[in-house]
Structures are given as structure tokens and as C-alpha cells.
């Protein structure tokens, strides 16, 4: 008997019991999942960060610079002290600052420049035909941008133009929802497959 499949099957059903209502069986599965996943994270980070990036390079290869992150990491523990608690803000400031610094050009390039440049297409195709889709993109982009214009009340021309933008956004939201149904259903089909095949051995 495959005890793994039995355990997995029972836990699968325990999680599904939440769909009826919150209950002790779900709560048990939830508590187990929380505990296991925290433990798993501890092991993973111990191996990939502490051992591989700190302990081995520092003690086996003598990369002394690594004392800095070691100290910064230890400073995090000052949170448990009332007097020295502010020390933990130094590693936090380093992480926040470094993240913000790389975010500026990265965000501008990926989120802004690339999107602008990908939206530009000639309104007349090579064959001399009017490019209706291109016009739709142009109007959609500009009107949605108008919706995100905060400096003025949305009245008059700006108001109506921004309103067109909301229609485009609704198309986007609706289409995205419809588009993702397939992958969401796939996850359920995957579990049903597991239950019927590996747990109940109903299907081969």
C-alpha cells in the first residue's frame, strides 16, 4: 500500500472540507501545512543561503567581506531588545534601499518604455490599408492613460476620454478572467486526477 498517496488523498479531502465551512479537519490540515512549509523554508534557506553563501565561503575560502552581511543579519535579532531595537533598521534600510535603487531603471524600462514602444504601430499597413487594430490600440492606450491622470477632475473632454479608458480596462479585465479559467480549472482537474488515479485507483 502506498501510504504517501493515502496521506496525500486524505489531506486533499481535508482541505476541500473548507469549501463547506471552516471546521476542525480543515484547521488541522491548515496547521500542518503552515508548520511543514515554515520548516521546509527553514531547511532550504539554511542550505542555500547560510551554508552555501555564508558559512562555506567565509570559513572555507576566507572571504572576509562576508562578515558584513553576517553582522547585518545578526542585527535583525536586536528586534527582541527594547534598547537596541533600532539596530535592526540598518539591515532593513540596506534591503529597502538596494531594492529601490535597482527598481528605478528596471521599472521604467520594463513597465514603461517597453510598453510604450510596443504599442506604436503605423495606422496604414504596408499594403496601403487602414490599420483599424492599430487605431484601437492607440485610442485604448491614450484613453486608459487619461484615466490615470490625477491632476484634474475627470470632467469635460478629459472625463469622457477617461471613461472610454475604463471601457478598455473592462475589456482587459473580462478577457483576463476568461483567459485564466483554463489554467485554474487545470489545477482542479489535476487534483481530481490524483484522487481518482493514485488515491482511489478508480482510473488507471
Amino acid at each position: 500500500m502506498d501510504w504517501g498517496a493515502v496521506a496525500a488523498g486524505l489531506l486533499t479531502l481535508a482541505i476541500y472540507s473548507f469549501l463547506y465551512r471552516d471546521n476542525p479537519v480543515y484547521k488541522f490540515a491548515e496547521s500542518l501545512l503552515i508548520g511543514l512549509s515554515i520548516g521546509y523554508a527553514l531547511v532550504t534557506f539554511w542550505q542555500t543561503a547560510i551554508l552555501d553563501k555564508l558559512v562555506y565561503p567565509l570559513f572555507s575560502h576566507g572571504q572576509l567581506l562576508l562578515i558584513v552581511p553576517l553582522l547585518l543579519g545578526l542585527m535583525m535579532f536586536s528586534r527582541f531588545s527594547r534598547r537596541l531595537g533600532w539596530l535592526s533598521r540598518i539591515p532593513l534600510a540596506l534591503m529597502i534601499g538596494a531594492g529601490a535603487g535597482s527598481a528605478i531603471p528596471a521599472m521604467l524600462y520594463e513597465r514603461t518604455l517597453r510598453q510604450v514602444s510596443n504599442s506604436i504601430q503605423p495606422l496604414v499597413t504596408a499594403g496601403g490599408q487602414f490599420n483599424f487594430s492599430g487605431l484601437v490600440v492607440l485610442v485604448g492606450l491614450l484613453s486608459t492613460l487619461a484615466y490615470f491622470y490625477f491632476s484634474r477632475e475627470h470632467k469635460g473632454f478629459l472625463g469622457s476620454f477617461a471613461k472610454i479608458g475604463t471601457y478598455f480596462m473592462m475589456i482587459f479585465f473580462g478577457a483576463t478572467f476568461g483567459y485564466t479559467v483554463m489554467s485554474r480549472m487545470s489545477t482542479l482537474i489535476g487534483r481530481v486526477d490524483f484522487l481518482l488515479t493514485d488515491f482511489l485507483h478508480y482510473l488507471k
Binding site: S37, M95, G99, T112, F148, S151, H154, F173, F177
Partner: protein, 292 residues
């Protein structure tokens, strides 16, 4: 410290190296052959120009527009609801659940924007004496959120009401976190749920559970796909940039408000750029100067 010395720091630390960098970069770029090891990577030139233009716009907005007496920002529907949401939780004597989503870490500006709203919500919950529960998947976010909430409680004048145990790390696994938040929502039955930050697939798992217990839900995210689910399942949704503007609107922070103005200036520039480029490409299909 404050403004004057801040400006000095900005001037020396940012403007000088950047401007010399900008002047020098085309020369360096023209001189050195494009190698994989150049000091200045020519492929990043568009990002560099965009960064400098943006930084200029932000500094202009903070120093010039920021001086104006009244900074107008259009109404954002979800924000009026924040007050209502806290009020309702107090009235009903229940808690508020606030969570930042699985997709973000502290590196992500969205998380910082979410923190600003959290700070405002914390001030309100402090003065109404309403419990604020903040589960997160990221221990760094937990640490920062504790600082933010503590500060909010101090600012509101009730430091003793702050309970660090209510701002906690719950699991690093996406669906461990989702299961835990679902459990918290269905057990504490909060009157209001705030889902603000970068969300992934867990968005709808949380939003539907919140909906099932009848909570007012205010969501906001920069994950475009999850926006669709929030729009369908939540009462109010801050769409993308609205989340960033919201933090200024709520805190009435002049700096944030003026940077929102800078964003508007840049949006105008982008609109003009797009129009010019579309006309240009229509008249001259072989051109591609607008390709990055």
C-alpha cells in the same frame, strides 16, 4: 536636518554624478566598442535617459509644484471606503485583516505603497481601538510592517494598544500563506479586509473567502492579471497606479502628492511621444527610432 540639508544631499549625491554620467556616457559609448564588459552598457541608454528625465520631473514637482498651497488630486473611490471600512469594524467590534500578497517583497515599490496605506489604517485602528491583523509570507515585510504599525499607534497617541503579535510571519509557501489567511478570515470574521500589494494566484482565494463572510473588501495591486479577479470579487479596487496615488491621498503627504504630479507630467510626455511616433511611423514605415 529636514529640507535644506536634504536638498544638499540630493544635489551632491544624485545630480552631480548623474549629470556628469549623462554628459560622459554618449562619449564613452561612442568610443568604446560594444562589448559585454563595457563600463557603460549602451543597451541601457534608453533606460538611462528615461531615468534622468523622470528624476528631473520628480525633483521639479517636489521643489516647485510642492510649494503650492493646494495640491489637487482627483477623487479615488476606493479611498473614501478606507475610513468607512475601519469605522464599520469598530462599530461591529470586529478586527481588520490587512495582507500584502505573496508576490511582493520589500524590494518592490508596491509593497512600500501598501505600507503607506497600512500606516494610515494603523493610525485609524489605534484611535478607534480596533484590532489590526497583518499576516505575511515574508519575514522582512513583517519586520517593516511592525515598525510602520507601531509608528502609527504612537502617532495616534495610543502606543500601548500596539500588539506586535498581530503582525506576523505565517509561511513562505504561497498556498500555505493562502490557507492561513483563509483560516484567519473565516475564524475572526473581520468586518473589513484590505488586500493591498503584489498578489499572485492567491488573490481570489482570499477575496472570495472574505466575500463569503460578508466583509467589506478593499483591494489594490500592480499585478495586472489579479486585478481582473479583484474587480470581480471585491467592493473597491485600486487599479495599478491608483495604489501609489492612494498613499499620498490618504496621508495627505505633500511629497507624495507632488510626486503624483510628476507622474502626471511624465504621462503627458508619454502621450505626446506616442502620438508623434504613431504619426511618424505612418508617414515613414521604415523608421524605428521609437523602438527600445
Amino acid at each position: 536636518m529636514r529640507t535644506s540639508s536634504l536638498r544638499l544631499i540630493v544635489l551632491f549625491a544624485v545630480i552631480l554624478p548623474l549629470s556628469s554620467f549623462l554628459i560622459a556616457s554618449p562619449i564613452i559609448a561612442a568610443d568604446s566598442p560594444q562589448t559585454e564588459t563595457a563600463w557603460f552598457d549602451r543597451r541601457t541608454l534608453p533606460a538611462l535617459i528615461a531615468s534622468l528625465v523622470s528624476i528631473a520631473a520628480v525633483l521639479y514637482a517636489v521643489w516647485v509644484i510642492g510649494r503650492k498651497k493646494h495640491l489637487f488630486i482627483r477623487e479615488i473611490p476606493g479611498l473614501k471606503a478606507v475610513e468607512e471600512a475601519v469605522g464599520r469594524a469598530t462599530e461591529m467590534g470586529t478586527a481588520i485583516v490587512f495582507t500584502p500578497g505573496y508576490g511582493g517583497d520589500i524590494q518592490r515599490p508596491t509593497t512600500i505603497a501598501s505600507m503607506n496605506i497600512l500606516s494610515n489604517v494603523a493610525e485609524k485602528t489605534a484611535s478607534y481601538d480596533c484590532r489590526l491583523i497583518y499576516p505575511t509570507h515574508d519575514p522582512v515585510i513583517m519586520a517593516v510592517a511592525q515598525e510602520v504599525v507601531k509608528e502609527g499607534y504612537i502617532k495616534a497617541g495610543y502606543p500601548d494598544r500596539y500588539n506586535p503579535d498581530d503582525i506576523f510571519y505565517i509561511s513562505s509557501s504561497q498556498f500555505g500563506y493562502a490557507a492561513a489567511v483563509d483560516g484567519i478570515i473565516s475564524r475572526t470574521r473581520p468586518a473589513s479586509v484590505f488586500l493591498l500589494g503584489t498578489f499572485e494566484a492567491e488573490s481570489l482565494i482570499m477575496a472570495e473567502t472574505g466575500n463569503a463572510i460578508g466583509a467589506i473588501q478593499i483591494a489594490g495591486t500592480d499585478s495586472t492579471i489579479q486585478l481582473a479577479f479583484f474587480i470581480v470579487a471585491c467592493d473597491y479596487t485600486l487599479i495599478g497606479e491608483e495604489l501609489f496615488a492612494a498613499s499620498g491621498y490618504l496621508t495627505n503627504d505633500r511629497v507624495i502628492l507632488s510626486t503624483v504630479k510628476a507622474q502626471d507630467i511624465l504621462k503627458l510626455l508619454i502621450a505626446v511621444f506616442v502620438l508623434v511616433a504613431v504619426i511618424w511611423s505612418t508617414l515613414n514605415p521604415s523608421s524605428d527610432w521609437w523602438k527600445f
